[in-house]
């Protein structure tokens, strides 16, 4: 279905862009309050140790210091910092401060002082006697190593959780019999792939502010993707009633999953509760690297059995080992997504085994990160497909097109594998992946460049591709709600729990509302993410806002439109079905009479049968329709230095009906460039004690404008019948393809298979040495 939209699908400017450009808008770190205290942390220098003695006297006596907290002074409630729905599918293995520290960068103490500098200096004066414990940095040795989590750590869900063996999560999924099928296969492929740690690197560091309001309630303003989960978690951890907490999300300087963690809110709330003064914490970039959250590193072993004649993959085995680091937020669900967001893409494989474990180590903590397991899983998946197509002697794009999931088809994995529990069965209702493959191929000039190994001196060129899907929210779990009321001038307040973290969701939700009501976007006043003043929403994660929150806004807009028509019909003295709305005016069927929205609002408030025209609606996704994408890289490899240069990168996406094409492009390109950085440079370098050696933007390279190639986005429009205005999600998918697309392009250029990211010159040279150039 193709609707003729007036607001949706148009390049509407972001409604908050102006204030952001002028620098007037307040981010969390910009908030200052009278008598505010600044919080700093003391961190563990050991990868694993017991605190034997801790002396805070000198720190406490430092002028300007008002509070020093150690594990002896804070609630010892076990919790997870994962900002997920309740019950969280992550283990309760974390305390605000603990007697034991589990990685270099784990918190030892909290200091609050008049200035940030005083707090930081005072933290250094805390004297700690540690008893070092055996530690382990290698996920493959985790099960035999000293247990990392607390003795009493537990999981709310009936799932695999064996903390004494350092198993933070486990998944096993089986269809058919892979072993029998491998026996019968003509060719069997078996390879190991590895992806590394990475930092979200939102340019705004994590921050939180707390203060008491005049009614004695704790107010928290924080850089959060999940204000409602933050309220719930703070209430639980500090043992204070939820009704006494308000969480407000201001503008957020990027999240990418890093701000789905609740680990600062409880600290500032506690400091404010004890001191009765406002408090603030702003992490330094170094702290963001070492002590916030990261991309989970993962090792995957793919094994595939193929029939030579048909090219059918008859069996696929995916074994995965994920490193949680010292705590387990998202340990189960990121692992699950490495299978559930990847394997259904080739839905005709009859024999399938997916087995994955997440383990604790004494390293920084993994968390939600754009792509969320799919990034980890798609590397090996797409490289394997490239290998299989080559072995079969067919073009990989034809192989993709023949076997990828299509409209009207399903995969048993949808039903079997969900987020912390079983999934939801679904049939694909919209899919333009084949079109994405064709259009992307055209733009990268696939058939002109593939297998050409164009060489100039030491530099050889190649092209590679990857295909992907993601989801749109977590079905039957994620809920979003919206409230709309009409004002006297015909404008509307749209209140949503949905959390705009820089993505532009406030704008696209306003577009959906304006479109459905029949007015223009400048009539929508959006207010989002305030636990006191907006309805609930799970928050900005799992590619859910457009689909779930957008669904709520659409329902709400439908309801208020009906209310408007009801009043208009009364005013025009005609039946309701004889009224239609166009551009903020209600007309009679024959257009002979009309009343404007302003007239309608005024009438409803002051004339007869007075009432507030308003509506509220909630929405859960019953399915999670995947967006699809084909990504293409053209690279130039210097065989002497091992340096890979990405010359061009093309992404062709099916996100259903794009609500705002410019914002869609922004999401795709941002994700793509982040993915290119992850493919080529971004990595955590540890010393033998687990100390992060490159905790700065100087040493941890994120792409600058000089490093990025020409990136191009193609939107292959479909209409998703279950989505608001036909939309699916788009935020995450683009980060999944750069690693495999670049790896496949490097193979196309020089015949070397890269199986461990990032593809640094050292690794490329090593692979050349091991595998031998094929030019």
């Amino acid at each position: 279905m193709n609707r003729d939209f007036k607001v949706v699908g148009k390049e509407v400017k972001k409604i908050d862009a102006l204030a952001l450009a002028t620098g007037e808008v307040k981010f969390t770190a910009d908030i200052t309050l009278p008598d505010m205290l600044h919080v700093a942390f003391l961190y563990s220098p050991y990868p694993h140790a017991e605190i034997e003695e801790i002396d805070t006297e000198e720190a406490l006596n430092t002028p300007g210091v008002e509070l020093v907290l150690t594990y002896k002074d804070v609630p010892q409630t076990l919790h997870t910092t994962a900002g997920q729905g309740y019950p969280e599918p992550s283990p309760y293995d974390t305390r605000i401060l603990d007697k034991r520290v589990r990685f270099v960068g784990d918190r030892v103490a909290i200091v609050a002082a008049r200035t940030r500098e005083i707090a930081q200096e005072a933290a250094k004066k805390i004297k700690v006697k540690y008893k070092p414990l055996p530690y382990n940095l290698d996920p493959e040795k985790a099960q035999e190593s000293e247990p990392v989590p607390p003795q009493d750590a537990y999981h709310l869900l009936p799932t695999i959780y064996e903390p004494r063996k350092n198993i933070a999560a486990g998944i096993k999924l089986k269809f058919g019999d892979v072993d029998v099928a491998f026996e019968k296969s003509d060719i069997v492929f078996e390879h190991r792939f590895e992806v590394q740690y990475a930092s979200h690197s939102a340019i705004e560091p994590h921050a939180a502010v707390a203060f008491y309001d005049e009614r004695g309630r704790i107010n928290i303003i924080s850089t959060t993707q999940v204000p409602f989960h933050a309220r719930r978690i703070v209430s639980r951890v500090l043992g204070i009633p939820l009704k006494n907490i308000r969480v407000i999300k201001p503008r957020i300087g990027g999240g990418f999953g890093g701000k789905q963690e609740v680990f600062l809110e409880q600290v500032v709330a506690l400091v404010t509760m004890i001191t009765k003064k406002p408090s603030k914490v702003v992490l330094s970039r170094r702290e963001v690297f070492t002590s916030s959250r990261t991309r989970h590193p993962m090792i995957t072993w793919y094994k595939a059995g193929v029939k030579k004649e048909t090219g059918e993959i008859t069996a696929l085995k995916l074994k995965a080992l994920m490193n949680a680091g010292a705590y387990g937020p998202h340990a189960l669900t990121v692992m699950a997504n490495a299978g559930s967001k990847v394997l259904p893409l080739f839905n005709k494989i009859k024999n399938l085994l997916f087995e994955g474990y997440t383990v604790y180590t004494n390293l920084p903590v993994g968390g939600a990160y754009r792509g969320y397991g799919a990034t980890q899983g798609y590397f090996g998946f797409n490289v394997m497909l490239d290998m299989i197509a080559e072995e079969l002697g067919i073009d990989v794009l034809e192989f993709f097109k023949k076997w990828h999931i299509k409209k009207g088809e399903t995969s048993p994995i949808f039903e079997e594998l969900g987020e912390g529990k079983e999934g939801v069965a679904q049939v694909i209702r919209s899919c333009a992946l084949s079109e994405c493959i064709e259009k992307g191929a055209e733009r990268i000039e696939w058939y002109k460049k593939r297998r050409k190994k164009l060489r100039e001196g030491d530099k050889v060129r190649g092209v590679g591709a990857a295909i992907l899907m993601q989801g749109s929210g977590i079905p039957k779990i994620d809920m979003g709600a919206a409230y709309i009321k009409m004002n006297e001038d015909g404008s509307f307040n749209l209140h949503v729990g949905a959390t705009d973290i820089g993505t532009g969701s406030d704008t696209i939700l306003a577009q959906i509302a304006a479109e459905e009501i029949g007015t223009s976007i400048d009539k929508m006043i959006v207010y989002s993410s305030d636990t006191d003043f907006t309805p609930f929403d799970v928050g900005a994660y799992a590619s859910s806002t457009t689909y779930i929150s957008g669904g709520a806004v659409l329902k709400c807009a439908r309801k208020i439109k009906e209310e408007i028509i009801k009043v208009a019909a009364e005013m025009l003295n005609v039946p309701m079905d004889a009224v239609f709305i166009e551009n903020g005016v209600a007309y009679t069927e024959d257009r002979t009479q009309h009343v404007s929205f302003e007239d309608i609002a005024l009438y409803s408030m002051y004339s007869r049968n007075q009432h507030q025209i308003q509506a509220v609606a909630s929405h859960i996704g019953l399915e999670s329709p995947p967006p699809f994408m084909a990504q293409f890289a053209e690279v130039e490899v210097d065989i002497k230095t091992g340096r890979i240069e990405v010359l061009k990168f093309v992404s062709a996406v099916d996100c259903g009906q794009p609500i705002n094409p410019v914002l869609v492009e922004g999401q795709v390109e941002g994700a793509t460039v982040n993915g290119i950085g992850y493919a080529l440079w971004e990595d955590y370098i540890f010393d033998e004690q687990g100390r992060l050696k490159n905790a700065s933007f100087w040493d941890y390279k994120i792409p600058s404008i000089k490093d990025v190639p020409e990136v191009e986005t193609i939107i292959c429009k479909t209409y998703e019948p279950t989505g608001p205005m036909g939309a699916k999600s788009v935020a995450e998918i683009g980060i999944n393809g750069p690693i495999p697309a670049i790896a496949n392009a490097v193979y196309d250029a020089i015949g070397i298979r890269l199986k461990s990211s990032p593809f640094t010159p050292e690794k490329v040279l090593k692979a050349i040495k091991e595998q031998g150039l094929k030019l």
Binding site: K13, L20, G23, F27, A202, F256, V662, G666, A671, F697
Partner: protein
């Protein structure tokens, strides 16, 4: 130590530790919150300001160094016609996502176009390579700069 300097067109004098960072003085003493801190190491450019017309990262400038100099922050720049052109162009090109890095980019773009009204793609990349953005992937920022160069043609050459 008392330091006199010109800030956004006005002569100011302020008492501060000479070793403190210009960034902190601007934010804390003058409330200029458009100057952002992203890394504190001179790498991300969110704290970019103009010092005598040159782009500097204010997190790396000791406050004493601005004695007698002229500082322009985004708050000063936004009163100008040049700013209006840059802002409109960035908005139209979709260059603003989270917006945390945007004021810093605007400073660098302004300095670029003042010196080079008609920059090539490569020159744009060079000039704003001191500003990091994690949201956009940069393509739309480049588009925005090109749009600003075109729309403000006369202004930049003046």
């Amino acid at each position: 130590m008392k330091v006199r300097f010109k800030l956004n067109g006005e002569e100011v004098e302020v008492e501060a530790n000479p070793a403190s960072r210009l960034l902190d003085v601007l934010r804390e003493k003058f409330g200029l919150i458009g100057v952002k801190e992203g890394c504190g190491e001179g790498e991300c450019g969110a704290c970019a300001v103009l010092l005598d017309g040159r782009v500097v990262h204010s997190c790396l400038v000791p406050f004493a160094n601005v004695m007698g100099k002229e500082i322009i922050t985004i708050e000063g720049l936004r009163k100008t016609e040049e700013y209006r052109i840059i802002e409109e162009s960035l908005l139209d090109a979709g260059s603003v996502q989270c917006g945390f890095c945007t004021p810093g980019f605007v400073i660098s773009i302004y300095a670029l176009l003042k010196n080079n009204p008609n920059p090539e793609d490569k020159e744009i990349r060079e000039a704003i390579s001191g500003n990091l953005c994690r949201c956009t992937g940069y393509q739309m920022i480049i588009d925005g700069v090109k749009l600003a160069a075109k729309r403000g043609e006369k202004l930049w050459k003046a």
